[in-house]
Symmetry: C2
Subunit: 151 residues, 2 copies
Amino acid sequence: MLDAIDLALLRTLQADPDLSIQELAARIHLSHTPCWRRLKQLESSGVIRGRAVLLDAAELGLPITVFAEVKLRRHDEETLSQLEEAVEKRPEIVECFSMSGDRDYIFRIVMASVERYEQFLKKTLLHLPGVASINSSFALKCVKLTTSLPI
Amino acid sequence: MLDAIDLALLRTLQADPDLSIQELAARIHLSHTPCWRRLKQLESSGVIRGRAVLLDAAELGLPITVFAEVKLRRHDEETLSQLEEAVEKRPEIVECFSMSGDRDYIFRIVMASVERYEQFLKKTLLHLPGVASINSSFALKCVKLTTSLPI
DNA sequence: GGTGAAAAGTCGCCCAT
DNA sequence: ATGGGCGACTTTTCACC
């Protein structure tokens, strides 16, 4: 499916997303046309999901990151899909994984302050469909946060 | 620092990162020159940290996400900075937060398989500077994963 | 902040190989 | 599947309101 050139293209683009097609082509020793075709094919096949603009949370007044471990009361399909739909709608929840083990979900949440999180917990999180309990942990520091995959 | 137009610009760009300057300008009811000036200023002031290409982990043979809760043996500055430097170098560790509470760090790790994670845990993670113990939880499903901040 | 315009560079798509 | 070339667009920078 993906050959060595595709991988080189993806690695180069991950490391330097602002590269023009010509620069990208030069880096992977291709001329611009085949490079452009491969790029479009990787986009339309979904290997490249899209692009993003990365903003600085602290600069935007959102210095608090919380990990919330969520346990559910019920585990029927209906409840799960309602919960996941609700999660999708809350922009403060930037990540949500369904988990094995003793908790059902982990959320990563971005907030303006601890006080705001307390309100968000009480007014929103605890009222999400099926939620039984939430255990919140605050991040002291973001050491690493990347969108680059290990390829 | 940021006025309503800057916020509109950032929100529009978060929702649609591939917009050209002209399209972006039209969406926020500005003409292209002031829009471009604001964009450059937001980039150089660091509010916009950069751009990224988002790849599909499953398509690239990396379907496993693990959360690793790390406890340290020692907490001196030397150990911490050595650990954080090591984390930075490991591309499999895509997120790392220093935490309050009973664990010292949370890693989010992307892997090709559970077997590979087992090797990575034994050969790499447990040998990172100062690590005392690691508790690993596997994600069953990624419900949400966004780079967009709630602004 | 807006307008208009022009230079440089890039993209997207022909073609021939 | 690659590389060349070209018209259409965009980005970037002006000077001026």
